[in-house]
């Protein structure tokens, strides 16, 4: 088991070092790590993501296999679970919204325990739900904040996100932290903590340890590496933010440039992000796209009310009534069961 996360951890460290060392004075690979790799990574991400989603879309949806998680639409006096067993598009939209935005199914999570070796109990277990929500929303906030590096002027929602994200500074850290330190963004810390939690549960919960692959640890370490290098740059190394923005704006306006004064730490950070983007379409991270296409969730449950058409439905060989009666006619007549053809007609 150790192997799975050790390999992933080492891979991330090596990747970091490659970029860090490669962009030091003398090595001079700034062009590679600052321009070529990011462009390649973004292309791989866009093309790979699109191809994956198109691949899924090409496969047929022959049956409506909705997982009905509540009372069906039945007679008017029976209350339907309109979201968990939707019979309208609106119901499906609400169900998908709750699934994607609130992780509703994960919110149902229970933990089974066999008490005293004889008695099963199931209790609500929300740590995974909380951890997953924290992780995804912190990640989202971090991404939104980083739009600052790719826009000029910076749109209001980015500034707004920053303000909300930095809100805790006033309440908690104002006196405790020396002046001059930039405001602490919660998202970065939450992201790191949540990723750490998701990692630790893979190591310490035996069931989850058993199912974890290297492919489960690698993205976690990668994201931890990205968060750590980002946090280090912002609060400790105090990198040249003006130079960095010149570089990122160059990338996004297709006038790439490598300004003076961009540190190796930044190139390493950027390289890990590039790896994440390039790796994304080929990994489980594609659940981002896949969750929208999950046939058990994104279809209505009124399968007896509205017919679903299977594009590849084909005729099959069946045992017809006539064949059946031919097999059993005498016995049927003897038992007084109705038959279509009488025996004498057969000849």
């Amino acid at each position: 088991m150790n192997k799975n996360y050790m390999v992933s951890l080492i891979a991330v460290i090596v990747l970091f070092l490659i970029a860090y060392v490669g962009t030091q004075q003398g090595a001079g690979l700034q062009l590679v790590f600052g321009i070529i790799v990011p462009y390649l990574a973004v292309s791989l991400f866009v093309v790979g993501f699109a191809r994956r989603v198109m691949g899924w879309s090409r496969s047929a949806v022959p049956f409506r296999i909705t997982t009905t998680c509540g009372q069906q639409s039945s007679m008017p006096w029976i209350k339907q679970a309109k979201i968990d067993n939707p019979s309208s598009t609106l119901g499906v939209i609400v169900r998908m919204f709750l699934e994607i935005v609130c992780f509703r199914s994960l919110f149902r999570n229970t933990r089974m325990k066999l008490n005293g070796g004889t008695r099963l109990t199931y209790q609500l277990e929300l740590f995974l739900w909380i951890g997953a929500l924290a992780f995804h929303y912190a990640f989202f906030a971090v991404v939104v904040r980083h739009l600052r590096f790719f826009t000029e002027p910076v749109p209001f929602f980015v500034t707004l996100t920053e303000q909300v994200d930095g809100f805790m500074r006033m309440e908690v850290l104002y006196d405790a932290v020396q002046a001059g330190l930039p405001g602490v963004y919660m998202s970065g810390l939450v992201l790191l903590a949540a990723a750490l939690y998701l990692f630790l549960r893979r190591v310490f919960i035996p069931q989850v340890r058993t199912i974890s692959l290297a492919a489960d640890f690698f993205p976690l370490f990668l994201i931890m590496g990205i968060a750590l290098s980002g946090i280090f740059m912002r609060y400790f190394a105090k990198v040249d933010i003006v130079a960095i923005k010149a570089l990122t704006m160059g990338l996004v306006t297709f006038r790439p440039t490598i300004p003076e004064g961009v540190s190796g730490l930044f190139f390493a950070h950027l390289f890990l992000v590039s790896i994440l983007l390039a790796y994304f379409p080929f990994s489980k991270l594609m659940h981002l796209g896949g969750v929208f296409l999950s046939p058990t969730r994104n279809m209505t449950g009124n399968t007896r009310q509205v017919r679903h058409v299977n594009p590849w439905n084909y005729p099959v060989k069946v045992h017809t009534y006539d064949e059946y009666e031919d097999d059993f006619r005498e016995k049927m007549i003897e038992a007084g069961l109705p038959v279509v053809k009488m025996p004498e007609e057969q000849a």
Binding site: F63, Y122, Y321
Partner: protein, 540 residues
């Protein structure tokens, strides 16, 4: 078999839910007695013209596979990825969060890590990555990929026949990944190699030829119902007259043949017969049985989509031939998954039938508008709601009842409140099991999807443990002595599981309870229920 079945406390003591040690890919499959079902009889495989019929034995090293079996698996896999978006998406997007791990009754009852839904799926995913993904091809084992070998194939077979396709895991999955779907595809691929189990293959062959899984021929089917006619007369003094293949009847009735064959399903069958007689006498409603379409269940569903369609075709064909208005379906689990989510698509549109209306109450069954098949619990609930049945619930007073939601009517249809409404109107003592074990979170009986054989009894008892444990709770808390259900497999499987885990609790179908309470026109004073047990107050 039964005589050497391990004791409940031994079974419990061998469960360890904390897998440890070697990685699962390094743990070779051990096909253990009591946990697997016998291989399919080649004759049954041949009846449907399915490939690679031959005698083989799971315990032997040589499974007598066709020479190019790896190619067959690979091609079969690819074909299904293209035909089923569900399969493709579910192969790609699992993040192995583990939310499903302890939701499976087989994992809870065995502690075998490969019974965690996520690992059951990984058995296929590992091969998928190796055969069909770039990352898997480059990274190999490190990327969670492994080539298809004979050991892997055996592992597939062993664990895909330790899944009852109950879909409980899919309720908890944040992406709705449905292990049933993965098991269905895996079993289809195994069937390409002739690797079915006999408890599925032979019922399928029977059903194809005789119209029902048990292979009951038409005259014998009528004999069995005639036998019930006598029994019913003895209990109620009323002689019912079931109609067979009556052209121009209002409704065709189809129920699993298990109800005709074995206790306690037989009492449910008598229940249907009493209800239909009542409706005929009081309201002139003509409901007919058919020996050609004498199977509600569909073990083809556990073989392949194509086999499911071949068996299911009889329902619409018979309804069309007899010229009925619509179809009424009996109490069964997977039958209703097939009817609800597959039948109309496969064998419809049923434009030769009418949109179902209950002629007695005038209720339009809007929810069955296209499929034109109504569940008998919906039908009876509607009759009761409109006060069309004379009922004496006190005749069920010695039954303290709880209700087991069957997997498929709950998670593949959502029929949850109709049967509860019926029970509460035909009986006075009803208690629910704990919330995490009923409705959409219900536990499987442990024997669904064709696993209701005798030789895998240990597996069935282990899989039935979570359900039985919840029954035990209401038995101890409320004195529950009767487990009601709407599924023929349940009625066959739960008595064994109750006998093993909670011997004080018996199993009943919904319409047995209905018939006990139903006051028939012209009946004598009843002294016993349909089972011949004295009614409350009638004990010596």
């Amino acid at each position: 078999m039964a005589d050497e079945l391990i004791k409940p406390d031994e079974l419990l003591s061998q469960i360890d839910h904390r897998p440890s040690g070697a990685g699962w890919m390094d743990t070779p499959v051990d096909i253990r007695k009591g946990m697997y079902c016998y291989a399919s009889n080649p004759k049954s495989v041949e009846t449907l013209g399915l490939p690679n019929a031959r005698p083989w034995n799971p315990l032997e090293d040589d499974w007598k596979l066709p020479e190019n079996w790896q190619q067959i698996v690979h091609d079969g896999f690819r074909e299904r990825l293209d035909k089923f978006r569900s399969f493709k998406v579910f192969m790609d997007i699992c993040v192995r969060c583990g939310a499903c791990a302890d939701k499976c009754h087989f994992f809870i009852g065995t502690g075998d890590p490969k019974n965690m839904p996520v690992l059951r799926a990984e058995l296929l995913r590992s091969v998928y990555r190796n055969d069909f993904t770039t990352a898997g091809k480059i990274l190999g084992r490190l990327g969670g990929a492994r080539p298809m070998t004979l050991d892997v194939l055996k592992e597939w077979w062993y664990y895909l026949f330790q899944c009852t396709e109950c879909r409980r895991c899919s309720v908890f999955c944040p992406y709705g990944i449905d292990t049933a779907e993965i098991t269905i595809m895996g079993r289809e691929i195994l069937n390409l190699l002739g690797l079915n189990i006999d408890w599925i293959a032979t019922p399928v062959a029977n059903c194809y030829r005789t119209g029902n899984h048990l292979g009951i021929q038409p005259h014998a089917f009528k004999d069995m119902l005639d036998f019930f006619v006598d029994d019913i007369e003895e209990v109620t003094g009323v002689r019912v007259q079931p109609a067979y293949m009556e052209k121009g009847a209002d409704i065709l009735f189809i129920t699993p043949s298990g109800d005709v064959f074995a206790d306690p399903g037989t009492y449910t069958c008598m229940g249907y017969m009493l209800l239909f007689h009542y409706l005929k006498e009081k309201y002139g409603l003509k409901i007919t049985w058919s020996t050609y379409a004498s199977e509600g269940g569909n073990f083809g569903f556990f073989t392949s989509h194509e086999t499911m369609k071949r068996l299911n075709s009889k329902m619409y064909a018979e309804a069309r031939r007899l010229g009925v208005k619509w179809i009424l379906g009996g109490e069964c689990g997977h039958m209703w998954r097939v009817i609800s989510q597959y039948m109309d698509t496969m064998n419809g549109p049923a434009d030769f039938l009418e949109e179902p209306v209950n002629p007695i109450t005038g209720t339009k069954f809007e929810n069955a508008k296209s499929t034109k098949m109504v569940h008998i619990a919906e039908f009876t609930a509607d009759l009761i709601k409109h006060g069309k049945l004379d009922l004496d619930p006190s005749r069920n007073d010695n039954k303290i009842i709880t209700f087991h939601d069957s997997c498929n009517p709950s998670r593949g249809m959502g029929m949850l409140d109709e049967p509860r409404y019926v029970i509460q109107n035909v009986a006075n003592h009803f208690y629910e099991m704990p919330a995490n074990t009923i409705r959409e979170q219900t536990f499987c009986c442990g024997s669904g999807a064709g696993l209701n054989a005798g030789e895998n009894m240990e597996l069935r008892m282990a899989g039935g443990f979570p359900r039985a444990n919840a029954v035990k709770y209401v038995h101890e808390t409320f004195g529950v002595n009767m487990l009601a259900c709407v599924c023929a497999i349940d009625r066959a499987a739960l008595p064994a599981s109750m006998g093993y885990w909670v011997p004080e609790v018996e199993v009943t179908g919904l319409h047995e309870l209905v018939a006990n309470a139903l006051i028939m026109p012209g009946e004598k004073e009843r002294e016993t229920d349909l089972r011949g047990e004295p009614l409350p107050g009638m004990e010596e």
